[in-house]
């Protein structure tokens, strides 16, 4: 059945700008529905292979909705909606701060339903932003590199470990380049808020000439190939999905605190099909009722009970607090500090 959709589907992959727009996209794929009456345009930061099972299952239940899935970085997504008023029916992003800014500045529609009412309060804001996954920022280590040493359980232990074994970790630590990655910036700013140790950790990593990445996927690749001994602040869901394919890596959840990023969806103000977008938001809000999709996508659905199992887990709070690190001066200052810590030589 699923195969039939694939075969019938016009699969289109393009790179570069989307139409005549100025914002950059990374790819697009169309999923035509068998009895299509509307085409839902989604702009998303999630990789297509991560999100595809959700789209296919959604279309199985709603066979009249075609989906035009556009992939863009969180910065480009923001640019598309905030500056260029591009027309999309749904925006899905892991950059909670940018989604918050879109809603705060009036670029999102209000939507509510029984399904969204069941979402916990921390998983929605203003009935405009709806979280559908809770993804912890984790540390991924290479088993081979940690032979004979106990892996660190928290940031203090990591700092000590790195300070005591500079030769072992020189150029073998990976983390996000916060200048290039929205998720990286979000994790770093939350780290700086949560603990003073963050800046010390950054300095230690800088001294070891840590390597900087734009995506979690690349970090996981390099850990499994043995190039990296440890990757800090990797999106947990990506790591989980790669785990079976890369036997040599291990995921560590720190016990001091774990930032939990929420992947969120919003209906842009100029959406053409807000009703269908609402149906998709309901579908996403109820992902916890579909364990088979969690299995396929490795996207952990919103689940308060599961979150409580780990007392160190801290879901990043949606709300105006997230606007602070988007402040022009604040961001400049933060990046300046970060760069000077990371690039000491």
């Amino acid at each position: 059945m699923r195969f039939a959709y694939f075969a019938a589907g016009l699969v289109l992959f393009t790179l570069g700008s989307y139409g005549a727009s100025a914002f950059e996209i990374e790819g697009t794929r169309v999923y035509p529905a068998p009895n299509s009456t509307v085409t839902l345009k989604i702009i998303s930061t999630a990789d297509i292979n991560v999100f595809e099972p959700i789209i296919l299952e959604f279309q199985r239940e709603n066979p009249t909705i075609s989906i035009d899935y556009v992939i863009a970085s969180s910065t480009e997504l923001m640019k598309a909606l905030h500056e260029e008023n591009a027309e999309f029916d749904l925006a899905i992003s892991s950059a909670m701060d940018l989604q918050t800014k879109l809603a705060n500045d009036g670029y999102a529609q209000t939507y509510s339903s029984t399904a969204t009412a069941y979402l916990p309060d921390w998983a929605k804001w203003r009935n405009q932003i709806f979280a559908f996954t809770q993804e912890p920022a984790v540390v991924v280590i290479s088993d081979a590199a940690f032979q004979g040493i106990d892996p660190p359980n928290n940031r203090e232990e990591l700092i000590s470990l790195l300070r005591e074994n500079p030769e072992r970790f020189e150029q073998r630590i990976g983390t996000y380049d916060v200048r290039a990655s929205g998720a990286g910036y979000l994790f770093a700013t939350q780290d700086s808020r949560n603990s003073d140790s963050y800046w010390r950790l950054t300095e230690v990593m800088g001294r070891l000439n840590a390597r900087l990445y734009r995506s979690s996927g690349d970090m996981i690749n390099d850990v499994s190939s043995g190039e990296l001994a440890l990757a800090y602040n990797v999106v947990g869901s990506y790591a989980m999905s790669r785990l079976p394919d890369y036997p040599g890596i291990r995921i560590i959840l720190f016990d001091d605190y774990v930032n939990v990023m929420l992947r969120t969806a919003l209906i842009p103000q100029n959406a053409r099909h807000p009703v269908e977008s609402g149906i998709l938001i309901d579908f996403l809000a109820q992902l916890s009722l579909r364990p088979e999709l969690t299995e396929l996508t490795s996207l952990p659905p919103i689940d308060t009970a599961h979150l409580r199992e780990n007392s160190a887990a801290r879901p990043i709070r949606l709300g105006p607090g997230l606007l602070v690190f988007l402040d022009k001066l604040k961001k400049e200052n933060f990046l300046q500090n970060w760069v000077s810590s990371m690039e000491q030589e």
Binding site: R126, P320, V324, D327, L329
Partner: protein, 460 residues
Amino acid sequence: MTTPFANSSIRRRLVIQLSLIAAILSLTFYLIVRFVAEQAAIDTQDNILAASATSIADALYSERGEVNLELPYSALSMLGSISEDRVFYRVIVDGETLTGYTDLPEPTPLPIPSNAVFSTFDYRGEEVRSVAVARTVSSSGQAVNTTIIVAQTRLGLEAISSSISTTAAFVGVGFFIFLTTLSLLSAQSALSPLRRMTQSIKRRGPHDLSPVKTQLPSELVPLVAALNKFMARLHASLTESEAFVAEAAHRIRTPLTIVRTQAEVVLRKLEKPEDKKALRKMIRAVDESSRSAGQLLDHAMVTFRIENLLTAKLDLGEITRDTCEHLSPTAGLKDINLIVRIPDEPLPIAGDSILLQNALRNILDNAIKYSPADSDIHVTIEKSDHYEVSFTDQGRGFGKADLKSLTKRFSRGDNASDIVGSGLGLTIADEVARAHKGRVHIRSNTEGPGACVSLILPRV
């Protein structure tokens, strides 16, 4: 001229007026609570806005000759802690926007340091509350004026005020119901003396015209005084008419006796049978009138004595025997046998002997009158928890007449038209019985024809 609501009940008027007052109080209460609570909610938002703006102002610093800002996380997150409102801010240094929303309007007049300016306006499609705070930052030895504006939409405020309004409305309605219930109760209790007075007047006997002496609130005293005066007047007028009737009866009876005696004399002298028949008719009419006058006189006397009832210790057996003896000649005229069966023991009773004799005489007189010649009349006294003096005759009984109405004045059985009578006999007996807390019981004779009339009197 009619007064409006002249007919509506005092109770209803009281309740309506008190309910109106309750409604006004409840509404006032609701409005005050709402106003105070909303003001408190506005003040809360203003305070948080001011705290946010102040914390931003405190984070301003000067670096290499330029004013810089380290926007504190709490400055915005504190605004998100109580509601999900949109937040906007703008920092202006020397007229230039340093950071924030460049289109967020500056207030007029601009704030002066230590004095925040609050305003409400529409921004980006929604109403916002904004605060502007001024701060002077020293940069390279020069004082630089900065303005910090923080604005927030009022979604949370509306939610709070609508929830307060709902609560206040519920409390107001509850207050109203409570007050109305209280007003019902107080109307009830205010009117209870009136009800008591009505009851005490209702309970009185039909001839009781004595003054009302119930304990009453001062407001009712004039009304009762007026009522008592009225009753006194009525009493006087009744007494007067009774006296008039008695006087009239007395004056009629005496000449009637003379007329009768003369008629008897004339009758003996007449020879023509038709003349005799006519004269007999006349004598019969005179008898009827004389008897009626006698009974009217009796009735007036009974009424007077009942009003001023004298109670003495009497023996019912003795009184009954006296009455029977007194009337035995009349019975003898018709060959009626009076069979008296009275227990041979004292039958003490408290009462007025003249009244009791009168009552017994009237009953026995009736029995004799309606008995056929050569019959028996049984006179018995039975003693249980009360006395029952019964007169059982073998006469025609009461036919189909309503037994209860027979004790009314001038009421006679529907089969009694051929016999001289006024219809006052049983009335007198009944009034006497009632005055002595007893009653007259009338029934048909259970053994054979005739009637049985009993005077039932309480024992001492």
